[in-house]
């Protein structure tokens, strides 16, 4: 396949789609599937068949549309009339959608027949209006299993452009100019990393996409891989061209079998069409991608551990330097980026660095995907421009806290991050601002907590996670996390003294300073940030032996009390 074949394929598919009066897009991503989306899709297909509407109505099974807690979600695209987005669609409602939209001309939303009217989401709903979809621009609109759907929306055009019109150096420069920073957590400038690998000497180089998504409570990467797999593959191929690699690996978390399967299938389809493999798009560029499946270890998200895991070993980090850019997989220069980072590449090449740099703040460009969860009315997956305030995310997009409860804190960055209390709701969400507050951007987990969440218990939850996940290679982390967890346990069961709180703070600093890898270095963050903003809760547990949120049962007595008694 060459560039004009690609364009012809896109045209053919567009014509095919435009032949339908009405396209019914049914979310088939995991959250909606567990709300019964399969039955809805089947009912819609049956209704199309029964009504002999095959020529006018098309049912498409798509990826995530965003408001997962309102699933099963269905979007109806009607020619010349626009889009109708429905929530909580049952099989029966699905049938009615078919008969209504296939026949009736546009009527104002208020005049829709029941039960469609109550399920229709207003077109100006802030949940959608405040988002900006760059990486997720196809998610929920295409069938992730069909290459044609992706190509019809401009897929692989960026790769074709890069291969024909740009040198590897120019590609790196474009990414540098865009200001894109890594979406895996640390926010290292992506272009600089690419240029480093490009300049590194080596007969063989590798590109790795990190799809390990370790943050427990987040599913951005999963959704991207499941809803638009070709987007990630195209980004990886462009990276391969830019750094001079001919082999890529995509490391998928073991808990995500559907993502792995879709990626495998997408790779095979792209190879068959000459968009991956050898002589891509009739150029001299060869690039193969293999899927590697993780086996359930959080630390394997760390880059050196991940590479050990790809090489079939225990996933234990190694000291850096040497950085992967110099010596990575099998000692060769290796580029490793998060899958969401790769998801940004094709739009940047296609629309230019300036376009990308116009989104966001001075130092944080583009958008970020967050998995909005916890105590907020609409939970789901959102993509917002950098610099949006937390308040807009929680109250406009998320629809506020249910049951009229008060917002207490937002947790970002998972076990490596921290909490942001209510007084900072107006902080812009970007790398620097979140860091200044003692949290991090992280990979995109965003958990909202209300008055009924105990912040000490939250700290204990994350410490337990780090303790379980410590790989055990270095002592500060292996032993320190256990000790810190024990101290937190004492605080929450009522047996702690104020001295324990001091010890806890000291340990936090020690573990942070002396651990080998990011897991240990950041494990104290949730504790430090909750102590910073919610010291009163710690003190209430210790001095008054009372949990202000009513979560902990403090039934034990401090040792010192009965010594003095």
């Amino acid at each position: 396949m060459n560039r004009s074949d690609l364009e012809a394929l896109a045209q053919r598919e567009l014509q095919r789609q435009q032949a339908f009066r009405c396209r019914i897009l049914c979310c088939a991503s995991t959250p909606c599937l567990s709300s019964g989306a399969t039955a809805v899709y089947d009912a819609i297909n049956a209704a199309i068949k029964e009504g002999e509407l095959d020529a006018e109505v098309q049912a498409v099974s798509t990826g995530c549309m965003g408001p997962c807690s309102r699933g099963p979600m269905v979007t109806v695209q009607v020619k010349d009339e626009g889009e109708f987005i429905y929530e909580h669609v049952s099989p029966e409602v699905g049938r009615q959608l078919v008969t209504y939209h296939a026949r009736s001309a546009a009527s104002p939303a208020e005049e829709l027949p029941e039960p469609l009217r109550t399920r229709l989401l207003p077109s100006d709903m802030p949940f959608f209006a405040k988002q900006k979809k760059v990486v997720l621009s196809n998610s929920g609109l295409i069938d992730p299993e069909r290459l044609e759907d992706y190509v019809a929306r401009g897929g692989y055009a960026a790769l074709a452009h890069a291969l024909r019109e740009m040198t590897p150096e120019e590609v790196c420069r474009e990414i540098i100019n865009s200001g894109l920073r890594g979406r895996g957590g640390a926010g290292y400038p992506t272009g600089l990393k690419w240029d480093m690998v490009r300049k590194a000497r080596g007969d063989k180089k590798y590109v790795i996409a990190n799809g390990d998504e370790g943050d427990p409570g987040a599913y951005m990467d999963r959704t991207l891989m499941e809803s638009d797999p070709h987007r990630v593959l195209e980004g990886m191929a462009i990276a391969g061209y830019a750094v001079g690699a001919d082999q890529g690996y995509i490391y998928v978390r073991g808990e995500y079998p559907i993502a792995a399967k879709r990626l495998e299938r997408a790779i095979r389809t792209a190879e068959r069409r000459g968009l991956l493999g050898s002589r891509i798009l009739d150029s001299n560029f060869n690039f193969r991608i293999d899927v590697r499946i993780g086996a359930g270890a959080f630390v394997c998200g760390e880059e050196t551990a991940l590479m050990a895991s790809i090489m079939g070993r225990r996933g234990q980090p190694t000291p850096r330097p040497p950085y992967p850019a110099q010596s990575g997989l099998w000692g060769k220069p290796t580029l490793i980026n998060n899958v969401e980072t790769f998801g940004n590449i094709a739009p940047i090449i296609q629309n230019g660095a300036e376009w990308f740099a116009s989104i966001g703040t001075a130092k944080s460009k583009g958008t970020k995907i967050f998995a909005l969860a916890g105590k907020v009315a609409t939970t789901g997956l959102i993509e917002v421009p950098m610099g949006i305030t937390l308040r807009e995310i929680v109250y406009d997009i998320g629809g506020g806290i249910p049951n009229d409860l008060a917002f207490k804190a937002a947790q970002t960055g998972g076990p490596s991050g921290g909490c942001i209390p209510a007084q900072y709701l107006d902080t812009p969400v970007d790398y620097e601002s979140l860091k200044a507050l003692g949290s991090i951007m992280g990979s995109g987990g965003l958990i909202i907590m209300d008055e009924h969440s105990c912040m000490v218990d939250v700290a204990k939850f994350f410490m337990e996670f780090c303790m379980d996940e410590s790989c055990g290679k270095c002592v500060p982390c292996r032993v320190g996390t256990v000790q810190m967890h024990r101290l937190l346990e004492r605080i929450t069961d009522g047996s702690a003294t104020l001295q324990d709180l001091e010890t806890l703070k000291e340990l936090c600093v020690m573990v942070k300073e002396t651990s080998l890898c990011g897991l240990g270095q950041s494990a104290p963050n949730p504790v430090l940030s909750t102590i910073q903003y919610f010291l009163d809760e710690y003190e209430a547990h210790i001095r008054e032996r009372r949990c202000p949120a009513g979560v902990c049962t403090l039934e034990k007595t401090p040792v010192t009390e009965w010594v003095h008694a």
Partner: protein
């Protein structure tokens, strides 16, 4: 049992490396070994196949894999025990995995685990004495929008409560008990601790 009366084992046309037990499931492992040309780097892939096929990694399996890849057994054991996904114990006939990721934790998933623990006398990571139910916890199943989430025999269920979960598991075990006598053999080809894992 008399050895004399049994016919001599017939020499079957078989691959040179076939497992001496003749268990055909080893062929699946051999296929993965071949796909990766017996490279030692493919250890994790081979263990994935082994666990998918047998349900858990028995000592025998680990020894087999170590021999085939010419790796020290300690190396194979070290890798198998490092990753949470691999289990060295047989699993129950049914599995219930409760998500204990942050979103589910905030929505009180711990109460679901406690309820199951109490009702069925099983610890997380363990299996009931009759071999019917394995309970385990996971760190985020990637459906946080529907927290609390659990996976019961491969089916992802959202917005659960302790009551609804107990009811589901009870129903499941009830049909089981009325159908057949429980078999505690752990080698059923079944979802393992990753739960939603299925062969690619």
């Amino acid at each position: 049992m008399s050895v004399k009366t049994s016919p001599p084992p017939r020499a079957r046309p078989q691959a040179a490396r076939e497992h001496p037990s003749g268990d055909p499931r080893f062929n699946l492992i051999d296929r993965t070994l071949k796909r990766f040309s017996y490279q030692q780097d493919a250890l994790i892939e081979v263990l994935h196949t082994a666990q998918e096929t047998f349900g858990f990694l028995s000592d025998d399996l680990l020894i087999y894999v170590a021999r085939q890849l010419k790796l020290p057994l300690s190396w194979v054991y070290g890798v198998a025990t490092f990753y949470h996904f691999f289990t060295l114990k047989p699993q129950g006939k049914h599995t219930c995995i409760v998500c204990m990721g942050t979103a589910c934790y905030v929505k009180r998933a711990a109460e679901i685990v406690a309820a199951l623990q109490q009702a069925f006398h099983v610890e997380p990571g363990g299996t009931t004495a009759d071999g019917l139910l394995s309970l385990s916890t996971a760190r985020c199943l990637g459906s946080c929008g529907l927290a609390p989430v659990l996976v019961l025999d491969g089916e992802v269920l959202g917005r659960e409560t302790p009551e609804s979960t107990l009811e589901r598991v009870r129903q499941l075990l009830l049909t089981e008990r009325s159908e057949a006598a429980p078999s505690a053999n752990g080698d059923a080809v079944h979802v393992t601790n990753g739960g939603i894992h299925e062969p690619i």
